[in-house]
């Protein structure tokens, strides 16, 4: 893939992730702290289609821009800790266990580590480890949302792969 084309595609993905992130922030949640994490599907697709560097780049740009458009500094710390941990876990799983694990499973693991990372920051900020009482709820929600996002990402991946393959022939 040409350098310019890759840059354009990556910036489109960042833009999509950012818009999803911002729209999702407006959706009311059942339980404080639980989100679908739709923007994560973009990171997952980028990881598969481009590679780990690009996935990390998209995650970092999305969290930084997301906190500028809404959320502020505390939100940045949470998204960043969660996003970094979940992306690293997904990158490692995808790199070494690609053949043994399906996409939804990788996504579930990523979602779990996202929540663990956020709780870590939360416990650090609030200086009270009892915040880990939220862990079971967050674990269950991570499994549900992670599975959903993983399924979404695999559908997205199939479509995008077709488009990119078609594009090469031109």
């Amino acid at each position: 893939m040409k350098k310019t084309k890759k840059m354009v595609l990556l910036s489109i993905l960042v833009a999509i992730a950012l818009v999803i992130y911002l729209i999702e922030a407006q959706i009311p949640v059942l339980f404080p702290g639980i989100k679908l994490g739709l923007a994560n599907s973009i990171s997952l697709v980028a990881l598969i289609l481009f590679g780990w560097k690009e996935a990390l780049l998209i995650m970092i740009l999305r969290t930084v821009l997301g906190s500028i458009f809404g959320g502020g500094l505390p939100a940045l710390m949470f998204s960043f800790a969660g996003g970094l941990l979940s992306n690293i876990v997904m990158i490692i799983l995808y790199k070494y266990l690609k053949n043994a694990l399906s996409l939804p499973t990788i996504s579930v693991c990523g979602a779990i580590f996202h929540n663990v990372g956020q709780l870590l920051v939360a416990a650090f900020i609030i200086k009270d480890l009892r915040i880990y009482l939220y862990l079971p709820v967050l674990l269950i929600s991570a499994i549900v949302t992670g599975y959903f996002i993983g399924t979404l990402a695999s559908v997205l991946k199939n479509r995008l792969e077709k488009i990119l393959a078609f594009d090469k022939r031109l």
Partner: protein, 128 residues
Amino acid sequence: MKKGDKIVGIVLLVIVVIALGATSIYKASIKGSANIAVIKREGKVIKTIDLNKVVKPEEFTFKTANGHFNTILVNHNSISIKDADCPHKECVKSGVISKPGEMIVCLPFKLIININGQKNNGIDAGTF
């Protein structure tokens, strides 16, 4: 479904069961006749309220160093954050808590409200 999915699934199930067990044991361990709300900011206790002794609703406003606020509403046996000027208002959306082990957290302002079931924290058992 691939081979590894099942293994991960089983591991996750075990982790969830352990986490649920650990938190319910913790919640059972702090149960008691009392209902003490402890409000902390950055790990420091700023107020403790005995919810059993609250007769009429009361409001407290706690300001942060940079002028932000949380307004806490206390009723008989329940406590909630009524208003705050944090961006997402997660603490307000948490609603009312009333049982030992429940908590409300306001992360932007580093505030946490816990409910304790026992008056004397640190004493394992007491006879009356």
